[in-house]
C-alpha cells in the first residue's frame, strides 16, 4: 500500500464559471419534459469569496413553485458498505456543519416556464473558525406551481391526485485557511460466495477537508486475467465503507481471485480542477481467501 500526503492551498484566481451552467442546462433541456434543473452540483465558497450561487431553471411548460433550504447530509455507509445520504434538518451536531451560517437568497419563488433563477448564498462563519472545510446541503424543492385537483366524473364519485414533489440535494463546501485532503485505508474485506465476489473497502478521511477522487477496483482470476472492473466517484468526509461486487458466474478461470484497489484524486470530470483539493493516492492488492 502506498500513501502520500499532498498539501494544497485552494487557488484564489480563476474561480468564475461563466457560461458553463447555461451550456449544461441547454444540453439537457431537450430531454426534459417537466421538472426543474439545478447546476452546478457542488457549490464552493471560501474565506475570500463568501458568496456562492446556483442556477435553477424551469424548462417545462408549467410554472413551478421552488423552495430552497439548507440542510445537512454527508455520504455515509452501513456495515454492509451501502452508501447513502440522510438529510438532517435539525439537531445537527457535526462541528463541520455550515448549515446554520450559510443563507440562501431567495428562498421561495414561482418559476415561470422557461425561466431561470440564480440562487445566491452568503456565508457568515464564526470568527474563530479553524482551518478546514465546512459542509451543508442545499435542498431545492420543486412542485407544480398550480395544482389542479381532478374533478370526479360523476356525482358521489371519488378522485385522487398525488402531487409529485421533487428535491435535489447538492453539496455546499466552505473552505477556511489551508486545506488538506487525505484518505486512509482501514481495511478490505473480500468474500467469494458462489457466483459473486463481494468486497468492502473501509476508508477514513484524516485531512481537514473532504477527500474527493475516484476509486478503481479490479478483480483477477488465478491466471492473472482481469475479470472485473468497477469505478466509482469517491467522496469521504469522515468514515465510509464502500461495497463493490463482481458477478463471476460467466467468467472462465477460477480461484484464487485477487483484488486490486486504486484510489486517486484524478479523473473527476464533474468538478473543475481548480476546486479539487489534491489528496493522496492509495494502491492496495490482496488475494481472496
Amino acid at each position: 500500500m502506498i500513501t502520500k500526503w499532498q498539501n494544497c492551498r485552494i487557488p484564489i484566481k480563476g474561480r468564475h464559471f461563466i457560461t458553463g451552467a447555461v451550456i449544461a442546462l441547454t444540453l439537457l433541456i431537450g430531454h426534459v419534459k417537466a421538472g426543474v434543473l439545478v447546476a452546478p452540483t457542488v457549490v464552493f465558497m471560501d474565506e475570500h469569496k463568501r458568496t456562492g450561487r446556483i442556477t435553477v431553471q424551469n424548462p417545462s411548460d408549467e410554472p413551478k413553485e421552488i423552495t430552497i433550504r439548507m440542510s445537512f447530509g454527508l455520504p455515509t455507509s452501513d456495515s454492509l458498505g451501502n452508501v447513502f445520504v440522510n438529510l438532517q434538518d435539525s439537531g445537527i451536531t457535526d462541528i463541520k456543519a455550515a448549515t446554520s451560517w450559510v443563507k440562501p437568497f431567495p428562498r421561495k419563488m414561482l418559476l415561470e416556464p422557461g425561466a431561470t433563477q440564480v440562487i445566491r448564498f452568503v456565508a457568515r462563519p464564526p470568527k474563530d473558525l479553524i482551518d478546514g472545510e465546512y459542509w451543508a446541503r442545499v435542498v431545492v424543492t420543486s412542485q407544480e406551481g398550480i395544482t389542479s385537483l381532478p374533478n370526479p366524473t360523476g356525482e358521489g364519485q371519488i378522485s385522487t391526485v398525488l402531487n409529485m414533489i421533487m428535491q435535489t440535494a447538492i453539496m455546499l463546501k466552505y473552505r477556511q485557511g489551508d486545506q488538506i485532503a487525505h484518505v486512509k485505508l482501514n481495511g478490505v474485506d473480500a468474500v467469494h460466495e458462489d457466483t459473486l465476489v463481494s468486497v468492502i473497502v473501509d476508508l477514513s478521511s484524516t485531512g481537514n477537508a473532504s477527500y474527493v477522487g475516484m476509486m478503481h477496483c479490479r478483480l483477477f482470476n488465478s491466471d492473472k486475467q482481469e475479470i472485473g472492473y468497477r469505478r466509482f466517484d469517491l467522496a469521504v468526509y469522515h468514515d465510509l465503507k464502500r461495497r463493490v461486487t463482481f458477478p463471476i458466474a460467466s467468467y472462465k478461470g477460477g480461484a484464487p481471485y485477487s483484488f486490486e484497489l486504486y484510489i486517486t484524486p484524478n479523473g473527476r470530470k464533474d468538478i473543475a480542477a481548480e476546486y479539487l483539493i489534491r489528496g493522496n493516492e492509495i494502491e492496495y492488492s490482496m488475494t481472496l481467501p
Binding site: T41, P152, G156, I158, T160, I165, M171, R243
Partner: protein
C-alpha cells in the same frame, strides 16, 4: 502602354487587391476564431422530473383501487437526469393518507415493499426488466447502489393502492409524494 494595357494592368491589380483583401479578411476571421475567448466550463447538472403522477382515476366507496408499478399510463414516474454512472442516494417520502382540500375527510393510501422499480436504462414501466435495475423493490428503502444510467437518466416507477371506506366522502383527494436525490460521490 495603350489604354487597354493599362486597363488590364488595373484590372489585374484590382483582382490581386481583392484576393489579398479576401485573404486578409479570412486571416482576420481566422485570428478571431483562434483568439476568441472560449472559457466555458460545462458544469454537472442534476434534475428530478415528475414525468407522471400516480393516477388512480375515479374510485368507489368501499372498493380498494390498485395501480401497479408497471403500467405506462398510470404508474407514477420520476426521471432523474445527471452525470452518467454517478452514484446517487434516493429516498421517497410516501403519504399514509390523502385528504380532501378542506380537510374534512381523508383516505388511507398504502405502498407495499414491492411497489417501486428503479430503471437505469430509461425504458418504460411496462418494458423494464431485471437487468435494467431493481424490479419491484421497496419504495421506503430504495437500493443503496443506485446510479444514474450510463445515458444520463434513471427512472423510478411507483405503484400503490387506496382504500376508500364505505362511507368515504365524495370529492377530490390529494397527497404528496416527495422524491429526494443527492449525489453520493461529491
Amino acid at each position: 502602354m495603350n489604354k487597354r494595357g493599362v486597363g488590364r494592368k488595373f484590372a489585374a491589380v484590382v483582382v490581386v487587391a481583392i484576393i489579398c483583401f479576401s485573404l486578409s479578411v479570412t486571416s482576420v476571421r481566422a485570428q478571431d476564431v483562434a483568439t476568441g475567448t472560449a472559457t466555458a466550463t460545462v458544469l454537472a447538472a442534476l434534475s428530478v422530473i415528475a414525468a407522471q403522477n400516480l393516477i388512480f382515476g375515479n374510485i368507489y366507496q368501499g372498493v380498494a383501487a390498485t395501480v401497479a408499478n408497471n403500467i405506462d399510463a398510470s404508474s407514477g414516474i420520476f426521471n432523474i437526469l445527471g452525470q452518467g454512472s454517478a452514484g446517487i442516494s434516493i429516498s421517497i417520502v410516501l403519504p399514509q393518507f390523502i385528504a380532501l382540500a378542506n380537510g374534512s375527510d381523508r383516505m388511507t393510501i398504502g405502498f407495499s415493499s414491492t411497489d417501486a422499480t428503479v430503471d437505469s436504462n430509461n425504458t418504460t414501466p411496462a418494458t423494464v426488466v431485471a437487468g435494467d435495475g431493481w424490479i419491484n423493490t421497496n419504495p421506503n428503502n430504495l437500493p443503496a447502489g443506485t446510479v444514474i444510467g450510463a445515458a444520463g437518466q434513471t427512472n423510478i416507477y411507483l405503484g400503490g393502492r387506496v382504500y376508500p371506506s364505505v362511507d368515504q366522502t365524495a370529492g377530490a383527494y390529494s397527497g404528496d409524494i416527495i422524491l429526494t436525490v443527492a449525489y453520493n460521490g461529491t
